[in-house]
């Protein structure tokens, strides 16, 4: 056990724990709900997950820098509505154009947040709480309380969620899911290997030290917000594709779900640690629970939120308590190893002399 602990860093245990919890949850519901372990369940959960997962990737980037983006719900709603109206107005618009507009528009909204936070030095909570309301107003003004309806949208868009890229028997892998997966993988690689990704960790661990070390803190934070907005724009596009009907309240409250996913996924709310894969695991766990509790006859559907709240708390608490202990063990083991190595080296030196 200690050998294992020495090899694996505590932060990696975190994601493994989440996977174990996920497996346990699925196993539990499999005994409770008939036909739970069907591919249909996977299809349902993964489709719903795609939107949250994409937004959670962007949120992770921002939270890593010790900031937060609360405007996501309004960005998703605004982009979904805007692109929906655009498509309804010009049915001939090619799919990639609609896709690109969604991302660009989200990016622009995110850039506004980024400018206010990074260059205007307004605390992120204050700035994005403000834009959360402002973007929602933009949506209300834009729409004049009208709704984008499914029948006004082009056929390719409506068929997209039901299409299967890979179909194995009853297992349908939707394009939305593949897209979300691609986003997760790309950004995990960015975080792990690109200088920009590493700088986000440095900034979040200690912004002052990062500045003193000469890192472009303002620019990097700005880009994090920009990316968060662009990914929220993408999530807005997925929202439009999945639901078709877009009202003025579209995406409302989504920011809380996304923050919850990120927190459960082990991304430190004070910045500096976490991973995209963790955020995905957090989003998955929340989604699996939500979808399964609805189908679980033993518990009223209204218990969902109560259980979810408790789960988020447990996830955060276990991070602090269990991982804190693991970290201590890990550090001690490391120190013992180093001392032993030093002692051996000293012994060899005396023997040599």
């Amino acid at each position: 056990m200690t050998l294992l602990l020495r090899r694996v860093r505590p932060e990696q245990v975190r994601e493994l724990t989440l996977v174990f919890i996920l497996v346990a949850v699925v196993a539990f519901f499999a005994t409770q709900i008939p036909n739970y372990l069907a591919w249909q369940t996977f299809t349902d959960i993964s489709t719903g997950l795609a939107i949250i997962a994409v937004a959670a990737v962007g949120q992770t980037l921002v939270v890593l820098t010790r900031n937060i983006d609360l405007s996501i719900g309004s960005v998703v709603g605004l982009v979904a509505y805007f692109v929906g109206t655009l498509l309804a107005g010009t049915p001939g618009m090619p799919a990639p154009a609609a896709f690109g507009i969604a991302i660009a528009m989200g990016g622009a909204l995110g850039a506004v947040n980024g400018v206010i936070v990074a260059f205007g030095r307004v605390p992120a909570v204050v700035a994005t709480l403000g834009t959360l309301a402002i973007y929602r107003v933009a949506l209300v003004e834009l729409s004049g309380a009208k709704t984008v309806t499914t029948d006004s949208l082009p056929a390719w868009l409506l068929n997209l969620p039901r299409m299967s890229v890979v179909s194995l028997g009853q297992l349908d892998v939707r394009p939305l899911v593949l897209l979300a997966l691609a986003v997760v993988i790309v950004f995990q690689l960015v975080l792990s290997y690109l200088p920009y990704g590493r700088r986000l960790f440095a900034i979040g661990s200690n912004p002052d030290a990062a500045r003193v070390a000469g890192l472009p803190v303002e620019r990097d934070v700005f880009v994090a917000f920009l990316l968060s907005g662009a990914l929220a724009g993408l999530a807005g596009f997925l929202f439009l594709v999945r639901f078709g009907n877009i009202t003025v309240v579209a995406g409302q409250g989504l920011e809380l779900q996304v923050v919850a996913a990120v927190v459960v996924g082990g991304v430190n709310i004070f910045g500096g640690s976490g991973s995209i894969v963790g955020a995905l695991a957090g989003a998955t766990l929340i989604n699996v629970l939500q979808q399964s509790l609805i189908r679980w006859p033993a518990v009223s559907a209204f218990a969902q939120d109560a259980i979810l709240g408790l789960l988020i708390l447990l996830a955060v608490a276990s991070d602090k308590v269990i991982l804190g202990r693991l970290r201590t063990i890990w550090v001690q083991a490391r120190r013992r190893d180093e001392e032993r190595a030093a002692a051996t080296a000293a012994e060899q030196a005396t023997h040599g002399a």
Partner: protein, 335 residues
């Protein structure tokens, strides 16, 4: 040092006062009867529950934490009174139970934050979802009404002269909160804990106890506000008070309380409550929807921090302004 603080206060509260004056004068001219005391009482009454929770939230934010679960506690307490009434428990007893549950919710949040050391944003986000879930568990998707006559009257009719009960409660709590924050030892502790928990601990302040107390207070006050809301509305649903937390936090922050804790005054918060309520009322009279009102307030929130920062940056770039000025401005930017 004292002069700097004084100047900062004058700046912030002065700014709010100027904004308030502009709003009141403009609406007062545009809408006849706007400055009528009855209209002012009405506009205050419609948001009085939020204003009450703002008082408690000020303590939470001054001590460097945040409580996102307030609106859910409001909803839960209102639902609890209604649910207990359905089970045959008198409303009086139900109210006491609701206040107790509110205190427990606050202490529960406080335990994880103060004793275990978890970030309050995460804990109270869980509370926001969980307490709302508990409320839904009690009533499902039903709406419960039919409260006793005296209860509805307390919430809906003036009690003394033109003043309804909630308004008088607010006035009393306002005085109490001001004394507690600005003139009591506990208030000093809240500021110290907010500006630096480490320093507070080494100075012998019982940081845990202060934080626990602040969260418990937030819970009780939210529960109480929930009961008042129930009395005013006369009926409750699982979603009652949903989303109030954003409005409440906005009012506190607009009052000049730093989100990082340790600074801000009750005077600023009161002015901010008046600014927000008058702005909403004025906008409503100008036929703006609730969403537009929220947007304008959101913009005001951002600008209130952004503009002083930009002014400071521009000044330091131009190299103007004495050293005393330079010492004051960066502190403003910390808000």
């Amino acid at each position: 040092m004292a002069r700097d603080i004084f100047r900062r206060l004058v700046r912030w509260e002065g700014l709010l006062l100027a904004i308030l004056a502009v709003i009141v004068v403009v609406t007062g001219i545009a809408v006849p009867g706007y400055l009528n005391p009855q209209n002012q009482i009405n506009l205050l009454e419609l948001s009085i529950e939020k204003a009450i929770v703002v008082l408690a939230m000020t303590f939470v934010i001054v001590s460097g934490e945040i409580d996102l679960s307030i609106a859910s506690v409001m909803g839960l307490s209102a639902v609890l009174v209604a649910w207990l009434k359905e089970q045959g428990v008198p409303v009086e007893v139900g109210i006491i139970a609701a206040l107790l549950v509110g205190a427990l919710c606050g202490l529960f949040n406080g335990y994880w934050v103060a004793v275990i050391g978890l970030p309050s944003l995460a804990v109270t986000l869980a509370g926001l979802i969980g307490y709302r879930g508990a409320a839904l568990l009690l009533v499902g998707d039903r709406s419960i009404g039919g409260f006793p006559e005296w209860f509805n009257r307390l919430g809906q009719q003036p009690l003394l002269g033109p003043f309804p009960l909630a308004l008088m409660v607010f006035a009393v709590l306002l005085v109490g909160a001001t004394v507690l924050l600005q003139f009591s030892g506990f208030g000093r502790y809240a500021y110290v804990v907010g500006s630096s928990p480490e320093v507070a601990r080494f100075s012998g302040v019982r940081v845990r106890r202060v934080k626990l107390a602040v969260f418990a207070m937030s819970g009780v006050v939210s529960a109480f506000a929930g009961v008042l809301l129930l009395a005013r509305l006369g009926a409750v649903r699982g979603s009652t008070a949903e989303g109030f937390e954003l409005d409440i936090i906005t009012m506190v922050l607009l009052g000049g309380v730093s989100i990082f804790g340790g600074s801000g005054t009750m005077a600023g918060v009161i002015l901010s409550i008046l600014v927000v309520l008058n702005l909403r009322n004025g906008l409503a009279l100008a036929n703006a929807t609730g969403n537009t009102q929220a947007g304008v307030i959101g913009a005001l929130l951002i600008l209130s921090v952004l503009v002083p920062n930009l002014v400071a940056a521009a000044r330091s770039r131009l190299g103007r302004g004495g050293s005393a000025e330079a010492a004051v401005i960066p502190k403003l930017s910390d808000l």
